[in-house]
Assembly symmetry: C2
Homo-oligomer: 77 residues x 2
């Protein structure tokens, strides 16, 4: 089973990397860009019998820092 996990900073948490990208886009002449935030995408092949609970645990224990980050799990097939 293919799984995608999207990890992003919680709203309100400062994103210096996003700011740098925003600034760089402006420097390159791209106008009209407002807010930029950078997140992570983890693509995994897991055994078909992997439970939602196990996936959730992987995120909470390793893949995301739940103090400042939210995550979303998406099963691809």
């Amino acid at each position: 089973m293919k799984v995608r996990i999207f990890v992003r900073l919680k709203p309100g948490v400062l994103d210096p990397q996003g700011r740098a990208v925003h600034h760089a886009l402006e420097g390159l002449g791209f106008d009209g860009v407002d807010d930029v935030r950078i997140g992570r995408m983890v693509e995994m092949d897991v055994a078909d019998d992997t439970s939602d609970e196990a996936l959730d645990k992987m995120c909470a224990q390793l893949l995301a820092n739940t103090v400042i980050e939210d995550y979303r799990i998406e099963k691809v097939d």
Copy 2:
């Protein structure tokens, strides 16, 4: 307009970060995980009249390294 850009390593390009995560998951006792690959997600608010061409240019010029990375642009609304 909200836009999400997903950047990931091309197939065949070595992903040491993904390997490290894979190894760490096994160390934590999560079995059945096969392949792990890490990508980036860039969320942007752009002006509604931003063309697909401009978005494509942003990716090619700054957001992705097209030598080793693929990108996908998704308009959220």
